[in-house]
Amino acid sequence: MAAPLTLLLIVAVTIRAVLFRSSLAELISERVEVVSPLNAWKRVVEGLALLDLGVSPYSGDVFHETPLMIYLFHFTVDYAEIVFMVSPYFVDCLSCFLAPLDRFRKQKYALESDRYPADCLELLRSPKEMFYIPLKVAMFYLLNPFTILSCVAKSTCGLNNAIIALFIFCTLKGSALLSGILLALATYQSIYPLTLFAPALLFFLQRLYIPVNLRRSSFWFFTLQYAFIYVGSLVVITGLSFFLLGSWDFIPSVYGFIFSVPDLTPNIGLFWYFFAEMFEHFRLFFICVFQINVFFYTIPLSIKLKEHPVFLIFMQIAIISIFKSYPTVGDVALYMAFLPAWSHLYRFLRNIFLVSCVLLACSALFPVLWHLWIYAGSANSNFYYAITLLFNFGQILLVSDYFYAYLRREHHLIHGLYLKKKDGTEATLVLK
């Protein structure tokens, strides 16, 4: 296990180092799919330059990083490459969680195996399969072209991903304090991880065998405790930014920018073209409609998946990456890293082949249509928009497919794999 992981790390580092040194690095760092106005490295440098000129970096419309980020880079700007090279390995921590996760599940299974029908045994993963899951997750993240591109472009998205990965790691390790602090940091960085509060809380409750019961004081006690850690760290971090910067300018410039979507530079998301075409009169309404998508599913998903908080985390991260206002391929890579962990769902996926083809084709077509529109002038913005639309369609299908497969597997675990109709013939499962 250690040897392949080391080999993987060496390969990943080599690829990144080679790309950093090659002429491709500059090209990649300009790609709209890889960097967004929120996390482009060029804008970080610009923010630092403004700071040097004595101008508040938030007085313009170029810099949208949080104050802590700019002060981090203020000291490490010369080592930026190293920072970005290192950051993906935090995501490795992600891989480490899966071992305990499955052990946990295995214990649970061993305890309750009597309750599962006998034919479900093949739905459960063998220990050998589980042994390789951390490696697969690491490989899926570190060698994912999306991650590599994002890292080579020095997109700060990689750092945000690292924070989220560390948060998941700490959560799964059971450290409520660290988990709360890291969640606050992730929220501070990009608001949207706010929705991960619910799965983290559910996980801790499950771990501490506290039933989710609104009438139980132990439930409220722990919930308030965790919320206090989270809100407290958020207040401390925000206060720290205020004291570093000396003003609240960053609030509208970072969070206002995320919510009101003023920058319509093309990206892989759904927002830019919609709001470029949207009539000004309806803008506010549709901003609300689009932004609510990220937060909208949290409560129903938490209710539906309250027994499966890790899958809930995956769902939430995927929804964030689809519906956030300035998505990049780095965000996509984060939730894709989870996919090997759900390899046992593979047999229930309905259209994984189609979705894979769509996503691959879109990834290839992004640069092609961008070139046709921006450089060749032989296509127009609609072409690029069509591809972003298809890409998001593919992502939605992928996520809902995994959701479906997960629910179906749970159903089979309870009711047996080979269901029979009343008349004894083979039954088909339908959603009703």
């Binding site: 998508n293 129903p300 369609f393 939605i396 499962l429 959603l431």
Partner: protein
């Protein structure tokens, strides 16, 4: 499709050079020879002292006497208020300067100056209501909006510095407006907004398109030209509209501001079909307070209306360089404006001291010599207030015949150009190249660049190189843009090494433009000015400031830039809205399905016939079918 959009970028360079002994500097004179123009735009004043003006007045008075001598001594023409009788509190002067350019074109510059020793701002309690020569429409505007200084210009065409040398008063293509408000104004932005709308009405121009997205407050450029030492740039507003089209409807209201209108005096020459059939047309109004007397005990308001035209008779007129007033303006002069205290026509004959190059008819024995932009020029003077100018025919038609070819034109001392580098619609780089052609003098220049918000500047990519070496600006003021609210403003002070080419580059990114902007223009502009104020003297103390040891400043505008921007395709907004919403709805629908429904074994429902039969059986009370 990516639509083409117009971007304008102006470079304004104000050079301030103090030449201690210009007469001894042969090389300098040579360099200046062709760049210099009639009027020297002299010192920028920041301290408001008037010692210099005092000197000038006396000098002009004394030289006035010497007008008739053409013996090479310093002779100059001026229009000083001093000889005028005391009772007239306002006076009006007019002049026309004609300069044959080396390219064969003819540069005609009209100047009208109205002086009035009243104060709009201080006498507000007893409102100024009696207007004589000063146009009432402008006077009311000045007092209503507490304007201290107002400069507005409308220009059609681009001044080709490389071919024509420096203009008397430079102006950028399109409309330019800059205003200093009085320091008592509390709501400067509100005043500015109203003022632009009022001026838009007065000049029949689209100045109402000036809003916060193209207004800047330069911190170091555009110091007040008149009296006053306030340099708090909060009271300054500067805006340009590079796509403003200047035409007859702007000229007519401009002419109406003149005391004689276009009925008499030099203004009769302004026929719009001729003026606009030219390669360059620029009309401007400058209002500023100046000192009335030597001690500056009282202020006077000066209104200067200028109109500059370059006729391309050489290329459009069968290659002949001959010109006459009638040919240019299809009018001849018959009288001076009766209200004018002075009315003169000047012809630049510096290149033709002995009359070997061209011949003027009618000839005049009046000569004037002046230092213009650091260069000594000689002018033939025709005084329209004298009857003999008009001769027997009661009509004055100036005629110039060329005898030989004019010599080569020397390169202008200072010259700037600008272009956009890069390809594609995503990023680009603005290059500004400034040439200092002076053989041994370094000039400090102040560059001002105002770039609209839809070009996202990256100031960390700003590089200034002279002679392939990094030339670090000693002063940088940068105000980043705010989307849809404010343009970028970049000001920097650069030292131009002698005989050098300085290149300023900055990278930018193009924003996806919105539909409400499809018809608007970009206005990046660059200004340069030096801080080398050697003399405390109000600027433009006369039409022809004469100072032998002149320090002067030049403002240079670069050509406008055309920048392509990526645009959304607005042929199908509804489709886009529908399709995007569909994808969101697909997401919502599939999640909703999975969240609200549960898995069940599909029990096929009985066929329709069986259900019907069961229904009937139930009514009949018979046992149902299985």
């Amino acid at each position: 499709m990516a639509a083409h959009r117009c971007g304008l970028s102006l470079v304004c360079i104000l050079i301030f050079s103090s030449l201690a002994h210009p007469s001894s500097c042969d090389t300098l004179e040579k360099a200046n020879d062709n760049t210099a123009t009639k009027r020297s735009i002299s010192e920028v004043n920041t301290d408001g002292s008037v010692a210099g003006e005092d000197m000038n007045e006396r000098q002009w008075q004394s030289t006035d006497v010497e007008v008739n001598r053409s013996d090479g001594t310093k002779t100059s023409e001026t229009f000083t208020p001093a000889p005028a009788p005391a009772p007239a509190r306002d006076q009006f002067q007019e002049e026309l300067v004609i300069r044959p350019l080396h390219s064969g074109d003819i540069y005609a510059s009209f100047q009208f100056r109205t002086l009035w020793d009243t104060d709009f701002l201080q006498e507000r309690q007893k409102k100024v209501s009696h207007y004589r020569l000063f146009p009432k429409s402008l006077g009311q505007v000045l007092s209503k909006f507490s304007v201290r200084e107002l400069h507005i210009s409308f220009t059609q065409g681009f001044w080709r510095t490389m071919q024509w040398g420096q203009p008397f008063i430079p102006s950028p293509p399109g409309a330019e407006l800059w205003v200093w408000f009085h320091h008592t104004v509390s709501d400067v932005d509100g005043n500015w907004k109203e003022l632009t709308n009022v001026l838009s009405g007065i000049f029949c121009a689209s100045l109402n398109f000036i809003d916060m997205t193209n207004t800047v407050q330069p911190s170091a450029s555009f110091k007040p030209l008149g009296l006053g030492n306030a340099t708090d740039h909060r009271f300054l507003r500067y805006a340009t509209l590079p796509r403003e089209i200047v035409c007859t409807e702007n000229l007519t209201p401009w002419k109406k501001l003149l005391p004689c209108g276009s009925k008499a005096g030099l203004a009769v020459l302004m026929k719009s079909e001729k003026l606009f059939h030219s390669s360059f047309h620029s009309q401007a109004v400058h209002i500023r307070p100046i000192c009335q007397d030597e001690q500056c005990t009282s202020k006077a308001w000066e209104l200067r209306q200028t109109l500059n035209v370059v006729f391309d008779h050489y290329t459009s007129g069968q290659g002949k360089k001959e010109w006459s007033l009638f040919k240019m303006f299809s009018r001849t002069l018959t009288e001076a404006c009766p209200l004018a205290s002075s009315s003169k026509v000047y012809v630049d004959i510096t290149d033709n001291p002995e009359g070997e190059l061209f011949e003027l008819s009618p000839a005049t024995h009046l000569l004037s010599r002046a230092v213009v932009l650091g260069d000594r020029r000689t002018y033939s003077v025709y005084d329209l207030t004298r009857a003999e100018t008009f001769g027997q025919l009661r009509s004055f038609n100036l005629l110039l015949r060329w005898k030989g070819d004019s010599g080569d034109m020397l390169r202008p001392l200072l010259h700037a150009e600008r272009y956009v580098a890069g390809f594609g619609l995503q990023t680009g780089e603005i290059h500004t190249v400034i040439y200092n052609n002076h053989p041994y003098r370094a000039f400090p220049v102040l560059l001002m660049d105002s770039v609209p918000w839809y070009l996202q500047l990256y100031v960390h990519t700003l590089t200034v190189t002279s002679k392939s070496r990094d030339n670090k600006p000693s002063y940088i003021h940068y105000q980043p843009a705010k989307d849809r609210h404010r343009p970028h403003l970049l000001e920097m002070l650069i030292q131009l090494p002698p005989h050098s080419m300085t290149e300023v580059t900055v990278q930018f990114e193009r924003a996806l433009i919105l539909k409400d902007l499809t018809s608007s223009a970009l206005v990046p502009s660059m200004v340069a000015m030096s801080t080398n104020f050697t003399q405390d003297q109000p600027l433009f103390s006369s039409f022809v400031p004469v100072k032998e040891e002149s320090s002067y400043f030049v403002r240079v505008y670069t050509e406008p830039l055309l920048v392509n921007l990526p645009t959304p395709d607005f042929s199908m907004p509804y489709n886009v809205i529908c399709l995007t919403c569909t994808v969101v709805a697909v997401g919502y629908g599939s999640f909703y399905n999975l969240l609200t429904r549960t898995f069940q074994v599909d029990e096929p429902s009985p066929p329709l016939a069986k259900r019907l039969a069961n229904f009937i059986r139930r009514i009949r009370g018979v046992p149902l079918l299985a």
